[in-house]
């Protein structure tokens, strides 16, 4: 049986003004978690908050998430003190299709870098060559840079204002990748919807498979309430779409099936 866990917060580390990494002790989740999955975390508000899993270590029983402050819940969660017990559901949702890939290109923006980092770590373990491309607004906004650099075969960073790395967005960064590097690659992208859409088109133009992780407002996070729907292509149809649950049928979808 699955359960709702009472996870112990081990550490809460600030990455920048807006973002923090929280590490929890919860063996059940740490053992089961796979890249692409998320957890649903309790705060004082009624509904839990979903966060992509950023790392999970079955040995130590630890898993972590990256949290960017955008409202009440994330403000409170960033203030959680170590040793606090937090109600968590997870791991939830489906996974990135990493293991089938010959080569991987990870394209992250904003909070998308957290779940991507878990995927990157997995790729490293599986010895799958991986390029990472991360886009941020400005240098003060960057996070996980060193981690990505250390684990990727090649790492490109872009900032909107050019104060770090490539001046521009992730598409500008992607243009720096050679055709031979692209060959046989699977693209996995997580970030703002408009970014994922553009990356998906870019991949489509190059005939590369592309997977995205969608974000929707959620309630249950486990597929019961149907509030988190995405329009996804009906199986066997080219122009008919149906409502799929972001939490249980996703959050990862084949970009070609998504109606943006």
């Amino acid at each position: 049986m699955k359960d709702e866990y009472s996870a112990r917060l081990i550490s809460n580390r600030k990455l920048n003004e807006e973002s923090s990494i929280l590490t929890f002790f919860c063996p059940d989740i740490a053992v089961a978690a796979k890249p692409g999955q998320f957890v649903n975390i309790s705060c004082s508000n009624l509904l839990k908050r979903p966060f992509g899993i950023c790392s999970a270590d079955p040995e130590s029983g630890l898993f972590s998430i990256g949290v960017r402050e955008v409202g009440e819940g994330t403000r409170e969660i960033r203030e959680f003190l170590p040793d606090r017990r937090v109600d968590v559901l997870g791991p939830l949702g489906n996974t990135f299709p990493i293991d089938d890939a010959d080569r991987l290109i990870f394209v992250g923006g904003g909070t998308g870098v957290y779940p991507l980092f878990f995927a990157l770590s997995q790729a490293v373990k599986r010895s799958i060559p991986a390029i990472s491309v991360c886009g941020f607004r400005c240098v003060g906004d960057t996070c996980m840079i060193d981690e990505f650099r250390n684990c990727s075969d090649r790492f490109l960073v872009s900032t909107d204002n050019g104060d770090m790395g490539i001046h521009g967005n992730v598409l500008d960064a992607l243009s720096g990748i050679s055709d031979s590097e692209l060959n046989q690659s699977t693209i996995i992208t997580v970030g703002p919807e408009i970014m994922m859409k553009n990356v998906a088109e870019w991949a489509f133009d190059r005939g590369l498979p592309c997977f995205v992780s969608l974000e929707r407002r959620m309630a249950c996070g486990i597929g019961m309430c149907l509030v988190c729907t995405c329009k996804i292509k009906k199986v066997g149809s080219d122009d008919q779409f149906e409502n799929k649950r972001c939490c249980a049928d996703g959050p990862v979808f084949d970009a070609r099936e998504v109606l943006w």
């Binding site: 049986m1 709702e4 309630a219 597929g223 019961m224 149907l226 509030v227 729907t229």
Partner: protein, 305 residues
């Protein structure tokens, strides 16, 4: 011996705890978190005659101690349900309540007839006369006592399955709609469905929900639900099933004291899928400690003179 067993008319329940419609789909996901032997029953997601894709865009907004939803009855249609989901629900070792919603009176009658072919797998049909999230039918019928009376008696004539009528709180007098359901031949009423509400995004100056309005559920509505359950209980001869904001055993006891023979739990299950079992355990403890049959407290509320 003490027990938490209860009856809703002819339907006997292992406990007063029923999973509310729309908050567990058809039970598959929830069955990965809890076993159902101490759960009184489970209501299916609201079904319509034809499949429905539900509403577009954002369907949920959080509010103080509550949430708004505007799912809009996304469901695979009653026939698909019968073919693909009913057997699963029936396998859960709890009472199966099938929630149906129509655009018009005929829809309800047609669905009830089709469901009537499966009386072995269905313990009750819940007529949802209260969904605030579809433009047609449902809540319009549900706010008119005369339409309720007629609808229920028509449905009554096509099925032998116990009929529960789920009432909307968005009316001037729920006692009147409840009485109409009883007169139409309902076996029980369920009070309440969600309160119609709205959330607004001040940046876009648009409703948060793509459907503009949604149904308010969760602890915020509990005082209203409790009052309405008691209003129904005081005028009815048939059982009342309480619903609205229940999230712990104290809430369950309050609803039972107010007159509920059983309760439905919605939002709280969404948030904590294991909560029904926790509540069942706590109710057992309460019954044990107070040496009572839980069903004995139904309607024991003593109003102030």
């Amino acid at each position: 011996m003490v027990s938490i067993h209860t009856d809703v008319g002819s339907v006997s329940l292992a406990s007063p705890l029923i999973i509310a419609s729309g908050t567990c789909n058809f039970g598959r996901e929830l069955s990965e978190y809890i076993s159902f032997d101490r759960i009184g029953g489970i209501c299916s997601k609201g079904l319509t005659l034809a499949p429905r894709a539900g509403n577009e865009g954002c369907r949920v907004a959080e509010t103080p101690s509550g949430m708004l939803n505007s799912v809009g009855l996304q469901n695979p249609g009653v026939d698909y349900f019968i073919a693909n989901d009913l057997a699963f629900m029936a396998s859960l070792n709890t009472r199966v309540i099938v929630n149906v919603a129509g655009h018009c009176a005929d829809d309800y009658i047609e669905m009830a007839s089709r469901l009537n072919q499966h009386t072995d797998q269905i313990d009750a049909i819940e007529l949802n006369l209260s969904c605030p999230n579809v433009k047609e039918g449902c809540m319009i019928i549900g706010s008119s006592p005369s339409q309720i009376r007629e609808l229920v008696s028509n449905v009554r004539s096509v099925t032998s399955v116990p009929l529960w009528v789920k009432l909307t709180p968005n009316v001037t007098s729920i006692a009147q709609t409840a009485l109409a359901a009883q007169e139409g031949g309902a076996d029980a009423v369920v009070a309440i469905n969600t309160l119609l509400g709205m959330a607004i995004d001040i940046r876009t100056r648009r409703p948060v929900l793509r459907n503009n309005t949604g149904g308010l559920s969760g602890p915020a509505i509990k005082p209203v639900a409790l009052r309405m359950v008691n209003e129904c209980y005081r005028v009815l001869d048939i059982p009342v099933i309480g619903c609205g904001g229940i999230s712990n055993e104290t809430d369950v006891l309050e609803f039972m004291i107010a007159g509920a023979s059983a309760v439905e739990i919605g939002t709280s299950v969404l948030i904590h899928p294991t909560i029904p079992l926790q509540i069942a355990g706590n109710l057992e403890e309460y019954a044990e400690k107070n040496r009572i049959e839980l069903s004995d407290i139904v309607g024991t509320l003593e109003l102030w003179g």
